[in-house]
């Protein structure tokens, strides 16, 4: 599939920059995790940069993007400030979600990045909901929903694809097949390993792209979005890729061999796309290095920004549990911090 032509140089360079930023960001996030700056789970997308950037590149700014708990890259690709993404990982007040969501729950409404979601398969119905809104409101916004191969076994996969097809919703479902549902390989978790056909029975046709190739991913996603937007036909796209890191930082990767990882690393999307840009004269080696240094500098700034950002005020604990209004002036909450009760409104 490497035979697809390159996009215009400026576009190609932007994609490359975006992929480089994600790579350097994820590496630094992993490093910050080991330094205990980042809590909870940390799922890195190293190796999946082409799938992310290629898919996002196909979206209009008004389209909705929704992803999984592995979604720092999607936020960055959609244009969220790296400092705010890092600050969210650090649990700081300037994080995208003010420190309420963390690594698994990035969200940036302004850029219509509609969230990372912690429950496998839980985001599919929401994607259909976005599609329903677009349909109901009569605009031509489309929705791109990414989820993993593991999520294709959830009940919501079948339920949502059925409903999306039944109601002709403009949604592209992209199953990012990194070949492991956590530590269980595809062959061991899905009877049908050709994931793109899994939607056919629900009335959702399938397409396939090389998730290690940003251009192919972009091209296939763009076609899928066109079908969804213009033909009101949801589409399932399978993006085949490979994550080079464990499922999360805590993953010892006992379920796959070093040789296998090495074999795939030859297809490292950042490496191969950079090589192609040089080979086709879009950039030279110095420029590649400059882009890399720029990404590293951006990530340095992001870390500095996140470090400088204060922790959320304890008094903000109850913020946004509810939309307070005349109807909901407050609520009673038993609070572990004090012997008594707190009325929510008094803390807001």
């Amino acid at each position: 599939m490497a035979d697809r032509p390159l996009p215009p140089p400026e576009t190609a360079i932007n994609w490359f920059k975006s992929m480089t930023l994600i790579r350097r960001f994820e590496e630094r996030a992993g490093e910050q995790y080991t330094r205990a700056k980042v809590g909870g789970f940390l799922h890195l997308a190293i190796g999946e940069e082409a799938t992310i950037v290629g898919a996002v590149a196909a979206l209009r700014p008004t389209d909705y993007m929704i992803a999984t708990y592995r979604s720092h890259g999607q936020a960055l690709a959609r244009g969220s400030e790296p400092g705010r993404v890092m600050a969210e990982l650090f649990g700081r007040v300037d994080g995208l979600c003010r420190g309420r969501g963390g690594s698994m729950h990035m969200f940036d409404l302004e850029r219509r990045f509609m969230g990372g979601f912690g429950i496998v398969g839980g985001n599919l119905p929401l994607a259909a909901g976005f599609g329903l809104s677009s349909d109901y409101l009569g605009n031509d916004d489309a929705t791109l929903c990414q989820f993993g191969d593991g999520a294709s076994n959830q009940g919501t996969f079948g339920e949502t694809l059925n409903l999306a097809a039944l109601w002709s919703l403009p949604v592209v479902f992209m199953v990012t097949n990194n070949q492991f549902g956590m530590g269980t390989s595809l062959e061991r978790h899905s009877a049908q390993t050709d994931l793109q056909v899994k939607g056919e029975g629900f009335g959702v046709p399938g397409l396939e792209c090389d998730g290690m190739d940003v251009i192919d991913t972009w091209a296939v996603t763009e076609e899928a979005l066109r079908i969804a937007r213009e033909e009101r036909q949801p589409v399932l796209v399978e993006a085949l890729n490979y994550r080079f890191r464990g499922h999360s930082i805590a993953d010892p990767e006992d379920y796959r061999s070093a040789e296998e990882v090495l074999e795939w690393s030859k297809r490292d999307p950042l490496l191969t796309f950079g090589d192609r840009l040089i080979a086709e004269g879009v950039i030279n080696e110095q420029q590649r290095e400059a882009i890399d240094l720029e990404a590293i500098a951006t990530v340095d700034e992001a870390v500095a920004f996140a470090d400088a950002s204060p922790e959320p005020e304890p008094s903000s604990l109850y913020d946004d549990v509810y939309v307070l209004s005349d109807e909901v002036r407050g609520w009673y909450s038993a609070d572990h911090r004090g012997a008594g009760l707190q009325k929510g409104e008094e803390l807001c």
């Binding site: 839980g122 809104s133 919501t156 909901v328 609520w331």
Partner: protein
């Protein structure tokens, strides 16, 4: 005022809100062509069309998820789950998403969603179709929980629920659908959330009834007055979140005794919760431990006689109330 059935009051609320706001739409199993399993949505499809009155497949979790997604992006969905029993299939979307999306994304979005569903025992539907789950949803911060027990409240609270920007778990009661009550005609009539109704004034004991049990409590109160000289104040909280704890505490400060009546299970129930709140906030006003009357601590049996003794009736409320009085009930009777 017009007299109408509880289900008709709900229908009227839906009709008025569908007319008022074009972004309000209904979604659920058999709500459109069939008119709803309990006929609450009867006639709405003819009036508003299939775009706004949407029949769904039997996919509770996804239906709620679609509701959440569309609520995050500008619509105001009102979902009917056929009964509360089936909401268990949608718990992931209700709790992880409807209740938490706003909070976990730092307030960037809100979820103006209503999930309507009936609950309750008494129809010999056995263990899987007789649940009372107000306590389950009360447990979750981020959700609002309404439990209307009259036709007027059914209408007024549903209109408020639809207009509110928070996800609302709107729990109807199967037994109440056919009951008639006076409902104000004013199209702007709403019942605010967080305002308990005092169904009966009294000075000797406060009886709090949840959902249908508000009616059971009222009947018990009349008997307590007639046969035992005990004047009970009956409170229907109407919404459990937000909770009008002030009205409850004021009443208990006056009566010094409290009994809570609910249809659900005792452990972790609404009564357990209210008893704790009253203990924490009104301890120095109590003359007796807070009493509870609940459904029995067992799955709901099918056999009619067993089912009938599995959820509260007036007699249990009376007994629980008398138990708080000891020798004093003689004095009161005299």
């Amino acid at each position: 005022m017009a007299e109408m059935r509880y289900r008709e009051a709900l229908n009227e609320a839906l009709t008025e809100e569908l007319e008022r706001d074009p972004n309000v739409y209904l979604m659920g199993q058999d709500i459109s062509v069939f008119g709803g399993a309990f006929k609450v949505t009867e006639g709405l499809m003819d009036r508003f069309g299939e775009k706004r009155i949407r029949d769904t497949p039997i996919s509770e979790n996804t239906i709620v998820g679609i509701g959440v997604g569309s609520a995050m992006t500008g619509l105001r969905p009102v979902i009917e789950l056929m009964t509360i029993n089936f909401s268990l299939l949608a718990l992931d979307q209700i709790i992880n998403h409807a209740a938490h999306v706003r909070y976990m994304f730092g307030g960037q979005v809100s979820v103006p969603l209503v999930v309507r569903m009936p609950q309750g025992a008494g129809h010999q539907l056995g263990p899987t179709h007789s649940h009372s789950f107000e306590a389950l949803y009360l447990h979750v911060p981020g959700l609002l929980v309404a439990v209307p027990s009259t036709a007027a409240d059914a209408k007024g609270l549903l209109k408020t629920a639809i207009r509110d920007d928070n996800p609302v778990i709107f729990i109807e009661h199967e037994t109440l659908y056919g009951q008639r009550g006076e409902v104000p005609d004013d199209p702007d009539f709403t019942v605010p959330f967080g305002l308990a109704a005092i169904r009966r004034a009294g000075s000797d004991v406060t009886i709090i009834g949840i959902s249908r049990m508000a009616q059971t409590a009222e009947c018990a109160a009349e008997q307590l007055a007639a046969e035992h000289g005990i004047e009970a104040e009956v409170i229907d909280p109407r919404t459990l979140r937000p909770l009008d704890l002030d009205t409850i505490l004021e009443s208990v400060a006056k009566t010094n005794r409290c009994v809570i009546v609910e249809e659900g299970w005792p452990h972790g129930g609404v009564g357990a919760n209210l008893a704790a709140l009253i203990g924490e906030q009104g301890f120095d006003d109590l003359d007796a431990p807070v009493g509870r009357v609940t459904g029995v601590d067992a799955p709901m049996p099918y056999a009619k006689n067993l089912e009938q003794i599995s959820f509260p009736h007036e007699q249990q409320v009376i007994e629980a109330t008398l138990a708080l009085f000891g020798d004093r009930k003689r004095a009161l009777r005299g």
